[in-house]
């Protein structure tokens, strides 16, 4: 009997040894590829920062435009002028080309400022030739995909949004964005009240909400001779806020705090 027990114990010990070896082999199979396969040097990459990104394309755009100017390829630059710009100023690529023709082989490129506007990057710089000076803004929607605007003009959008508040209809007809301010052209319509008045006589009568709940009041008050809208009438107003371009994409609301509907003052919030 003792022999059998001894055999049993030996068998169990042998089984445990085999089991442990088996477990080690399995673990090795799972882990060995990570130990034996080294990544070749060339298969490592460099991480880019936002600063790297900005300087990389600054150099590209300034070199590209400088080269085109000194080679007399002004029409190639004019081809990139944004259609928004042409539409807003009712001008043509030919006219832009004639402006650019004032710049020749002595042209110098000024310092570049980079602003981020939503997914767009905006590279702004002056080109100077003698007494001629012009500000160019390269509006990049994606690397190597861009349009160019001149001076302070950056973006222009038509018929953006329309919202109703009971019988008050507000539509943003145009959004004009420059490096330093944003201007909305809004159409206010009384669609059923006896009287409606959207006052903008003081700068606090309207403000925008941007970023993390920050507020910014109107840049200047707006006064019209007759602000009261009777039933089914409308008025168009331009409201301007002095907010730098890199924060303009963060605007979430326009709030009108002095809207008088049938004698009662209300606050109307327009979601952008």
């Amino acid at each position: 009997m003792e022999n059998i027990d001894e055999n049993n114990k030996k068998a169990i010990r042998a089984f445990l040894i085999v089991y442990i070896l088996f477990a080690i082999v399995i673990l090795c199979i799972i882990w060995i590829p990570n130990f034996t396969k080294t990544t070749p040097d060339f298969a490592h990459y460099k991480e880019y920062t936002q600063e790297d990104v900005a300087t990389k394309m600054s150099d590209y755009y300034t070199n590209d435009i400088f080269t085109k100017i000194i080679l007399g390829q002004q029409s190639d630059i004019a081809d990139y002028i944004s259609t928004d710009y042409l539409e807003y100023y009712e001008t043509s690529k030919e006219e832009i080309k004639s402006v650019l023709n004032d710049f020749g082989i002595n042209t110098k490129i000024g310092q570049v400022s980079v602003n981020v506007h939503g997914n767009d990057y905006i590279y702004s710089f002056d080109i100077v030739d003698g007494n001629n000076k012009l500000r160019l803004n390269v509006v990049e929607t994606y690397p190597y995909k861009y349009s160019i605007t001149l001076d302070d003009f950056v973006l222009y959008e038509k018929n953006s949004i329309m919202q109703s508040f009971d019988k008050l209809e507000i539509s943003v007809q145009e959004v004009y964005q420059t490096m330093d301010f944003i201007e909305y052209t809004i159409d206010i319509k009384n669609a059923g009240y006896e009287s409606l008045e959207v006052n903008l006589e003081t700068v606090t009568d309207a403000y925008i909400v941007y970023g993390d709940g920050l507020n910014l009041s109107l840049s200047n008050p707006i006064k019209y001779d007759d602000e009261t809208l009777s039933n089914n009438s409308s008025i168009i107003k331009k409201i301007k806020f002095e907010l730098p371009i890199n924060m303009q994409s963060e605007i979430s609301k326009i709030v009108f705090t002095n809207v008088v509907i049938d004698g009662t003052t209300k606050t109307i919030t327009l979601d952008i």
């Binding site: 027990d5 088996f22 070749p40 990459y45 460099k46 920062t49 790297d52 990104v53």
Partner: protein
């Protein structure tokens, strides 16, 4: 059999069961994680594209742009013929930068053929033997297929052709693997 021996056998049995459970869970985990990349014979660009989300991040763009332009540049005749310097890497070397599953599927010969088909879309033929490569501004759009796995739509402005490449980034050791190209 003694009661004590029975206990030991029972203990051994429990150990075997635990090992089996661990193995099954490991294999299941790997299977679900690498579902798309498990069987390259069934892999298609469209499958990868299906649930991908567009990437606008410029830092990712430039990271991938550098990887891709280096890879395409490695096919230039300057590199592949006589001027191989110490630091030059030829496109053949990139076999070692393939994702294991893709490497296993293509094997070396398959890789060379696939790579040539892909890289020749960006060739700028100077004469019969000398050619350079188009490497600037090739990425049209980037999609994230899975975390740190990116599908890049490329277009050649010179040959007017499209190409696709999927690259996986290992953000721990800043290395990459080519997971697919077409």
């Amino acid at each position: 059999m003694k009661k004590e021996d029975k206990k030991i056998w029972l203990f051994a049995l429990v150990l075997v069961l635990i090992l089996l459970i661990i193995l099954v869970s490991i294999f299941n985990k790997n299977a679900s994680k690498d579902n798309l990349w498990q069987d390259y014979s069934k892999f298609s660009y469209a499958d990868a594209y299906l649930n991908a989300t567009k990437v606008q991040d410029r830092t990712i763009y430039w990271t991938l742009d550098k990887i891709i332009s280096d890879y395409i540049g490695s096919y230039s005749s300057d590199v592949t013929y006589d001027n191989i310097g110490d630091n030059n890497v030829t496109y053949e070397d990139y076999y070692d930068a393939l994702y294991e599953g893709y490497q296993k599927y293509l094997k070396k010969e398959g890789y060379l053929e696939t790579a040539k088909n892909f890289l020749q879309k960006f060739m700028i033929q100077n004469d019969v033997e000398a050619y350079s490569m188009e490497t600037e501004g090739l990425i049209d759009s980037i999609y994230m297929v899975e975390e740190n796995i990116y599908l890049c739509n490329l277009s050649s402005k010179i040959q007017q052709t499209n190409a696709y490449i999927i690259i996986g980034l290992n953000t721990d050791n800043l290395s990459f693997k080519i997971m697919y190209m077409e």
